[in-house]
């Protein structure tokens, strides 16, 4: 194997996430963690329902 290539891959600079994005994601994750565990499946079901409703209305708008 090409050692130079290995080294070049290893030395690719870090691509840091935008601090504002990092903070937003952190806050959202912390809110998820704050949900009591039994509520998680319920919250997931609600989100799925909302998403499904949106997908159906979007698809029907597309084919209208």
């Amino acid at each position: 194997m090409n050692d130079d290539l290995d080294r070049a891959l290893k030395e690719l600079p870090v691509r840091a996430v935008d601090p504002a994005v990092a903070e937003r994601v952190r806050q959202r994750a912390r809110r998820e963690l704050a949900l009591p565990a039994p509520l998680l499946p319920l919250a997931a079901a609600v989100v799925s329902l909302v998403y499904f409703g949106w997908a159906v209305s979007y698809a029907s708008a597309l084919y209208r």
């Binding site: 290539l5 690719l12 691509r15």
Partner: protein, 185 residues
Amino acid sequence: MVESEPDLLALLRARDPRGFELCYARHRDAIYGFLLRLSGQRAIAEDLFQETWLRLARKGAELRPGSDLRAWLFTVARNAYRSLLRSRHPQAREEELDELLAPGDAAQGVELSELERALLALPLEERELLLLVGVEGFAQDELARMLGVAAPALRQRVTRARARLAQALERGPASAPRPRRIHER
């Protein structure tokens, strides 16, 4: 002070926010960089970055003791990218997916190094392997377990991907089949 992986896993399993914070601080830039170099698009990388970390927040408590957290995170990120490609192009063949997502206009792109351009020009599977082995430093046996493939087969694929990358670099950027840049937005 939590230093060891078992301690970190114990915190995550207990839904202790400190577990998430520590894990986030350790791995967030690596996960973002992986997604950015995998997709070549900043907006997609940011969306999938969020998806990956929200999944940890939701599923961290289900991780088994002894789980490889870093491998788990990269697997989630990789699967999120593949799911996105598949959701956008359900009829496309596997090898076409990546190409279909590639943006055409690079006007707002960030300049990439020659090596990054060459990586983006590789087929998705080869790019994944080189990012995980070459950039992130996963051992090939570890990666074989992660991807659920036999170690000899994986070693062969990595060798082939490296050879293709080396060829692309030797020929220079003009010969890259799909030159792309990372898009800001």
